[in-house]
Symmetry: C2
Subunit: 317 residues, 2 copies
């Protein structure tokens, strides 16, 4: 579990995830040099100001030179193109990885763009609704899971080094195959995002209830969905396009269950509703016990700290 396994790491894509890795490597792996690259010159400029890396490369072709680990942190639909652009400077000994939220498609795209290279995809299950280089912070991965999806022929030494790398950043590491990952994440992440994006859209399109009313009375539950639905649109478009089958399958299950609850409401079947609503409490307890969420009521939101002001501090319109 030595943190110094990689002498130089290149991060391609300097948004929330890439920026956080940049901060985290500098904080927790002081022996490792970080090189950053982003296709957007404004992001490169911002990344320099934020100190996300020891050096920010201006050309894709030279970003990977001298690195023994290259991590792609771009939307999953852009992985192949980003890999092809990096290829000229990439050593055949280097390990190529990523942080994408869907894994089977990304594994194929990276392997196709970088034939003959070592590719071991990974997915740190961590993030916030923020995006862009300013959103990154070193502690993002601490106490979160990182799922590594090694191909069958993955080099065991490189795999062990990648595990150690993520552990050094504070993550707990699990390995599974890419297809299983895509099913698990379809339910724990992709479907929740789709549902949240849907309901926020529905609420903003109503005629009988104004958008300002929706905003005003959002503390009744709706506001939680808006946080998720504020996530990066490009990233999420790509997730749904690259994990289509698993998402559609989970969505089908969800729709069946929703129809059943709808029918219970229509029929006035209180016993069915009560049983269903009781059952779902156990999962929350499991999440709290496993340290995967804040145990305080309402996630410990600041408006319950008794200061009488939500942190937004706004006044009624």
């Amino acid at each position: 579990m030595t943190g110094a396994s990689f002498g130089q790491v290149t991060i391609v894509g300097l948004g929330l995830l890439g920026g956080s890795i940049g901060h985290a490597v500098q904080a927790y792996l002081p022996g490792t040099t970080v090189v950053g690259y982003d296709a957007d010159p404004d992001v490169r400029e911002a990344a320099r100001g934020l100190g996300l890396a020891h050096r920010i490369a201006d050309e894709a072709g030279e970003a990977a030179i001298g690195s023994d680990l290259v991590i792609f942190c771009v939307p999953v639909g852009a992985m192949g193109a980003a890999a092809a652009a990096i290829a000229p400077g990439l050593s055949v000994e280097a390990l190529v990885s990523d942080v994408g939220s869907s894994k089977a498609t990304v594994a194929a795209a990276l392997a196709q763009a970088l034939p003959g290279h070592h590719v071991i995809p990974a997915h740190p299950v961590a993030g916030t609704e923020r995006s862009g280089p300013e959103a990154g912070f070193a502690a993002l991965f601490r106490n979160r899971w990182c799922i590594i999806t090694p191909p069958a022929d993955a080099d065991p030494v490189l795999l062990a080094r990648l595990v150690a790398f993520w552990e050094a950043l504070g993550a707990r590491v699990e390995t599974m195959d890419a297809d299983h990952h895509d099913k698990v994440l379809a339910v724990t992440s992709h479907l929740p995002h789709l549902i949240a994006y849907t309901i926020v859209g529905t609420a903003s399109d109503l005629e009988q209830v104004t958008q300002s009313e929706v905003i005003k009375y959002s503390a009744g539950g709706f506001r939680d969905f808006t946080r998720i639905a504020a996530s990066d649109p490009t990233m999420w478009r790509d997730v749904f396009l690259t994990n289509r089958e698993a998402v559609l399958e989970m969505l089908q299950r969800f729709t069946e269950d929703l129809t059943e609850l709808q029918k219970a409401i229509r029929k006035g079947d209180g016993a069915f509703l009560f049983d269903h609503f009781t059952r779902t409490r156990a999962i929350r307890r499991g999440i709290i016990e496993m340290g995967q969420d804040d145990a305080r009521p309402d996630f410990g939101r600041s408006d319950h700290n008794g200061d009488g002001q939500g942190s937004g501090g706004g006044e009624p319109a």
Copy 2:
């Protein structure tokens, strides 16, 4: 806006809401005496220990004696029975109110149980996923909206005193008619809860993904839904049964929108997805600007405070 408008307040039902009112009146209206009552003797005992009221009545029939405001804080399906039990001790001059999440049905139930009495229903849009007397705290209503739904013939003096009461507890007050309230809350609160209960149920019933995987990787979005789906089952059963029409109407809209997004995923229509996901960001900004949510990423959850531990502090299984 004098806080001393009511000399004695009776709170019927000492769960999260009733308990919070008990704490809040003692904290912010020191001139007011608080009497509490709950049909459950264990809750009465707990309420005494927690100091939720100056006095806890043991009999429903004497709980309202001497009070000029009685607030029912029981599940909306139990309002009528609770009001009938209280009636013997209730003065005809006293104001009767409640905190229920649906208003048209509750207004009818209270009016029927207490003919000749002053009834002005109210709904503080505040809460957490916790329930029971231990869950209450004085600051629950601060900076949150309280919607009052006065009947057409409401006494304007009593209405003004009820407004002043909620403002003294820190709430912002809005009035509207009960039917409109029920439509607004169907979208900002009831539908989000129904969706959250559904998806948490769906996730726990899958064969290909285990419940322990769902819990483990919940930080990808799912965990937010589990918080909402941990809310009190009795309360929510009653909400869906008493606000049926509005909930079913909003659910219909939601289902149409979800079907449209499903189709876009199936067809691979990235432009449609991107446009939809971009549009939903604006609502989040409105909520933050109006001080209705915590502006910090991830609601300011403690696992981003950089201490490396979610507050649950659990270890991987």
